[in-house]
Structure formats: structure tokens, C-alpha cells
Amino acid sequence: MTVSPSGSLTATTVTLTGHGGDEIEAYLARPEGDARRGGVVLIHHLPGYDRPTKEMARRFAEMGYDCVCPNLFHREAPGAAPDDAAAVGRANGGVPDERLIGDAEGAAAYLRALPTSNGKVGVIGHCSGGRQAVLVACNSDVDAAVDCYGAFVTGTVPEGFVLRITNLVDQLPRLGAPLLGLFGGADSHPSPAEVAELERILTELGKDFEFHSYGGAGHGFFAVDRPNYNVPAVQDGWERIEHFFGTHLEG
């Protein structure tokens, strides 16, 4: 991985082809220079395609990766403010899993088509995006996946949700990429028991995974704009991500 010492990068809005051939908006951040490098698909959380998520995209570019974050609510609310778009998306039942997979595959294809691509693509998501990163790694061709505190990878989804989701237990045998999991020890969704269940299942399946739980951290500890931001967990977490992607996305 060639990282620009200056941290110079470019970031812009692009259009890529997502699920069903739909053209959707995405945020693209790229390091300066033409060195070959891996790509990162960043999945935004349910509250939307927001500023803190775009900050993460720029961080991945600063780390030396081409990073693209598809706007999962573009279809419902093109051009709307991210929070308004998220409200529409939620009211409409959230992002269907099949559509999410198609959009992530479109984002991965976009990255692999860049002239700087080394062909490797990782996927990362936080919160609902953590579950979706696992979903993608079970259904699509990616080289690494990072699940940051995604609820309902295991566990029981309460009945009657407007948002139509299931856990991913029946899909885990198809997990096709190394998985890094970062969790809050004080989180309740996913709870430590649900994380332990995931760890047990992946062990039984012989999957390549690495989990870290941070004792004092609650849910959403990477979120820079909320009270649960946890400096020790964030510092170690970013180092784990850097090492993990450095291992699996090298060309």
C-alpha cells in the first residue's frame, strides 16, 4: 500500500450502476497518485449517507485506498438532505437485502474498474451497515469484510418490524472472505452473547475471522458526533482495520 505522506486526496460525487441496473449516487474518495491499490466499499448506517460517513470515506483515501460509499436511499429521495432521505427510507421499510447486495456489487465493480485498482475490494459497515457488510461477504465476491457492531447477524429479530430484516445465520456457511469484527463490550445490540454466538458459528464453520470487543465501549463507538464515541476503542479499532485491510487488500 502506497500512502501519500501528505494525505492528499480527492473526493467527489459519482454515479454508479447498482442493483437492477439502477444508476445511483455514490461518494468517492481517492488518494492522489496513480499507484495500484485496493478498494473499500463503505456501507452507510440506517440514519443515512451522512457527513460522518463521508469523513470515513476520506479517511480510507488518506490510508491509501480508493473508497466508494453508495447512497442506499438514492432511489427513494434523489437529491434530498441525507436525514430526510433516511426518514423516507425508514418509512418505506428500509433497504431490502437483495437491493443492498446489488448496490454493493455495483460499488465493488466500480472500484475494480478504476485504473488504480489492484483487483482487491473490501467492504465495511457500521451499525446496520455492519450486518450488511457480513451479508455482502456471504453473497458477493469481496476480499475482506469488516463488521462494526452490526446487530442481527445472529440473534432473534422481533416480529412486527416495519423494517424487513432477518438474521444471517443461514447464510454464514457462504461467508467467502476474512471477517474482522469490532464490538462494544457494553453494547446490547449486538450483545456480548450474540457476538459469542457468531464466534461459535464461524469457528464451527472453519471461517477466517478475527473479533475484538472493547470493554468500556457501548454501541456506535466510532460515531464522531455522538456521546458514545470512545477514544481507546476507536484508536485500536482503526489500527485493526488498517492492519486487516493491509493484509487482505494488498495487490
Partner: protein, 88 residues
């Protein structure tokens, strides 16, 4: 977490929102999840919306759980105080 739990209802009323304009609201979505602006990890969020006017036709509230309960109590008290001859 992003709790996923979401409750929807159809309503009939008006709200004053974007651009200080009044608009007719037809839908309300209530959920307990991460706020955009309030200083809490999770809040009780209420979106009053008019979907036929587009995504920005929305009045959003993000209340701490205690504040949401206080709001429920206030609404119930206000409705309970309506004189019988005015009740509908």
C-alpha cells in the same frame, strides 16, 4: 444499535416546517434510534411527513426517552382536559 423498530400511523393535521411554511401532514413515523442532532446515543424520533410533497416536507423531533414520556403525558392530559361538549 440502529434499532430497526419503527411504528407508522396515518394522521390528519398540519405542521410548520421547512421555510417556515405550513403544510398538511398525512403520515407519522415513530422510532427509537440514533438522532441526527440531539445529544444522546438514542432518542425517540418522530417524523411528521407529507410523502406526496417529497422528502423535505418533514418536521422531525428527536427527544430523550424521558422527554418523549413527558410529551405523551402532556398530550394525554391535554386531551383529558377537553370539555365533554367539545370532545370529538
Amino acid at each position: 444499535m440502529c434499532t430497526y423498530s419503527t411504528v407508522k400511523a396515518e394522521i390528519d393535521g398540519s405542521a410548520k416546517g421547512p421555510g417556515s411554511s405550513w403544510f398538511h401532514v398525512t403520515d407519522v413515523t415513530v422510532y427509537f434510534d440514533h438522532p441526527v442532532h440531539a445529544m444522546a446515543e438514542h432518542t425517540l424520533n418522530i417524523d411528521f411527513a407529507a410523502p406526496d410533497r417529497g422528502p423535505s416536507a418533514r418536521v422531525a423531533l428527536e427527544l430523550t426517552a424521558d422527554s418523549a414520556r413527558a410529551l405523551v403525558t402532556a398530550i394525554q392530559d391535554a386531551l383529558a382536559a377537553v370539555p365533554a361538549e367539545m370532545a370529538v
